[in-house]
């Protein structure tokens, strides 16, 4: 089990190829039978007639890393996971780009799938991260998770 604290934040979007590389790295972990992956992608929502072109993410980093460690500990306690990886963007992520990457692996599919879903829900609800939806005219709107 891999539980060491890690920095989950990366500057700018999560490249699609980075996801592919992360999957490839697990081919040596031959006790894994199932991977579950969640990706958050920035949508071109229209708010009061203005189209979102990007989200600027900021965080309270010291609190976020403590919160993420608590989430990680709780998920590893609850599910039989082989490993978990989480990456969240900071700074600007344009429409169509990936801002969140949650990756859980397990011997069996149920643990991987449920752990991934629960981790995503907890990140959305508990991680001190703020997204500023930037419109094409550079005005903005602070996003709020539902």
């Amino acid at each position: 089990m891999e539980k060491k604290p890690k920095n989950i934040f990366i500057s700018g979007p999560v490249p699609a190829a980075f996801v592919g590389d992360s999957i490839q790295k697990h081919s040596t972990k031959t006790d894994i039978g199932a991977h579950s992956i969640f990706l958050g992608q920035v949508r071109d929502d229209v708010i009061e007639d203005k189209k979102v072109m990007a989200i600027d993410y900021t965080t309270y980093e010291e609190m976020a890393s403590e919160t993420m460690n608590e989430i990680r500990e709780a998920i590893f306690q609850k599910y039989q996971l082989t490993c978990m990886h989480v990456y969240h963007s900071l700074g600007r992520v344009k429409v169509g780009e990936i801002s969140l990457f949650v990756f859980t692996s397990s011997k069996h599919r149920k643990a991987a799938i449920q752990a991934c879903e629960e981790t995503v829900e907890r990140i959305k609800g508990e991680l001190p991260v703020w997204g500023k939806e930037v419109f094409e005219d550079e005005t903005y709107h602070w996003k709020e998770n539902s």
Binding site: T58, E62, M63, P128, V129, W130
Partner: protein
């Protein structure tokens, strides 16, 4: 007792800064009142208060070493 308070998201738009100094506060209630007087627009915003990187639900005593942050609703992911 001067205390440094961190603000995030739309709250820092109101204060014009990510950090403000607050004097003469002994607990989180007096801190919030002080900030609301200086920045009345803050009253229109929902926010949580974190002390030492934990969200607090009740009035909490503060020391000079307390890490205080005001957190608007999260929107990560």
């Amino acid at each position: 007792m001067p205390l440094t308070v961190s603000l995030f998201g739309q709250l820092s738009d109101i204060t014009g800064s990510n950090i403000i100094e607050v004097e003469n506060v002994i607990d989180t209630n007096s801190l919030i009142n002080n900030i609301k007087e200086r920045f009345p627009l803050i009253k229109d915003n929902k926010f949580a208060v974190a002390v030492d990187k934990k969200i607090i639900r009740e009035n909490t005593l503060l020391t000079e070493q307390s890490l205080v942050a005001l957190l608007p609703p999260f929107s990560g992911g």
